[in-house]
Amino acid sequence: MRFAYYPGCTLKTNAKSFDGSAIVAMNSLGVELLELPKWNCCGTVYALAKDDVMHYIAPARILARVEDMNKQGVLKKNLRLVTLCAMCYNTLKRANNGIRGDPERMRKLHDIMVDKEQPYEGKTEVIHLLELLREAGFERLAEQVRKPLKRLRIAPYYGCLLLRPKGFSIDNPNRPSIMEDLLEALGAEPVEIPYKARCCGAYHTVERKDIVVEAAHKILEQAGKMGAEMITLACPLCSFNLSERQGEVKRRYQGFKEMPVVYFTQLMALALGLGEDVCGLDENHVDPRPLLRSRDLM
């Protein structure tokens, strides 16, 4: 099976392990994530103003490219675009909606895009990899697991943009369980934390680091108290805020214990027995390897 795949800027720079582990893991499951041959930054975060057209250009180009790929026979009528980054998922899905629901906007976008490519016809669908896995069935994933995660206590962190707004959520926004189901399939023990969908501070990490430090402290401390040994997530910004910012959290809160943060696809690659090298675990800011080694998972 082949899907058009949109990595997003950060998966090519700071979050290469997310990109790499996902492609390898899905490959082993018989799914090819085919990166768009040419793509631009999606321009996250989704522009909320009603009259906005300019900020739709970047998503429109990406969505149109999927249609292009299909016309060239590369996708076999599968016009679903898989994303990994939660922010790209939200931006692209909402932009898609905003284009399809507004013929005037679509017409303006045509005019702007005509210099470079075929206009977007509105046929692409945006999905997140977690949705794809659920669709195929987590039991089928479980069948492929060669190195179950030995009940390692892992807390899934959803963040905001996978679950909100309601119409674009990948699961029940109040009681999501998709990541817990994934972790069960991989042999881990999911730890539910009440703050699993509490904002990490997002873009405040640039000019209001203090907000992010507080948020990270709240979330990680609670995870620790609930017995989690590790956090897993699906967004490179959340990962930066919960992981790289731990140094700042430690500086502010003496006694704060560091916790490793990993992308869910890194856990998949590990559990599917694909070898440590493809998991990119050396790139995680708080090294998860000592913990994994101590439990004989590496």
Binding site: C9, K12, T13, C41, A58
Partner: protein, 227 residues
């Protein structure tokens, strides 16, 4: 020999003029009496000094060209742009450690790129400017270097960019970093320099320098190029 040259109407600062049709914009403006003190340079499409925006009567499209190259057309509204303001960041090439986000570090405004393609439309060299700005955002320094190779830093893309990015500054840093840190060393260049240092070509040079102009011309015309 006086040929009959047709004339066209051009507009400079809103005033119309009749100029010969076979002149480039720069020459046409000098024809009508303008003297270029700024905004002109090599006159050979290499220095990027004569960036020009123009419109044609009947079309809303804003077009870009180099005044030294672009021939005048009938109904052309011309504005030469001698300079584009930009804040080139200060860096020491020897001290930079190349990382995927190095371009973002010096030019964080790249993150504002909307993929609107206005820069590409403004480029008189037909470069894929948006593509190289996006490559910069993705940390692909080699791609930025390759796509921006023919850039003249004329300033038009920077003037038009709604995100206020100065693409050619980013590209210049990328090309410098690529050449210094990422490109493969040219082995044959290193070898040739070594040979030269060892005096391999000293005798040949001495002979060439001793020849008269005519002898030199004969030798040049009879030269062999061995592949």
């Amino acid at each position: 020999m006086n040929e009959e040259v047709s004339t066209v109407t051009i507009y400079v600062i809103g005033k119309s003029y009749q100029v010969p049709a076979n002149l480039a914009i720069m020459k046409a403006m000098e024809f009508i009496g303008y003297k270029f003190v700024r905004g002109c340079g090599c006159r050979a499409a290499f220095c990027g000094a004569c960036a020009t925006l123009y419109r044609l009567k009947g079309s809303y499209k804003l077009q870009a060209a180099l005044a030294c190259q672009k021939l005048v057309e009938d109904g052309m509204f011309i504005a030469t742009i001698p300079f584009a303001p930009s804040d080139k960041r200060i860096y020491e090439l020897d001290r930079i450690r190349v990382s995927p986000n190095i371009l973002l570090e010096y030019y964080p405004e790249i993150a504002r790129c909307l993929s609107c393609n206005t820069c590409t439309k403004a480029c008189p060299q037909d470069l894929q400017v948006m593509d190289y700005v996006q490559a910069a955002l993705k940390g692909d320094i080699e791609e930025v270097a390759n796509l921006s190779f023919d850039c003249l830093s004329c300033g038009l893309c920077a003037m038009r960019c709604p995100a206020e990015i100065v693409p050619y500054n980013v590209a210049q840093l990328a090309r410098r970093l690529y050449a210094k840190y990422l490109a493969e060393t040219s082995e044959h260049l290193v070898k040739r320099l070594q040979e030269s240092k060892e005096g391999k070509f000293d005798e040949d040079m001495r002979i060439l320098k001793s020849l008269s102009k005519d002898e030199l011309r004969k030798v040049y015309e009879k030269r062999e190029i061995r592949v």
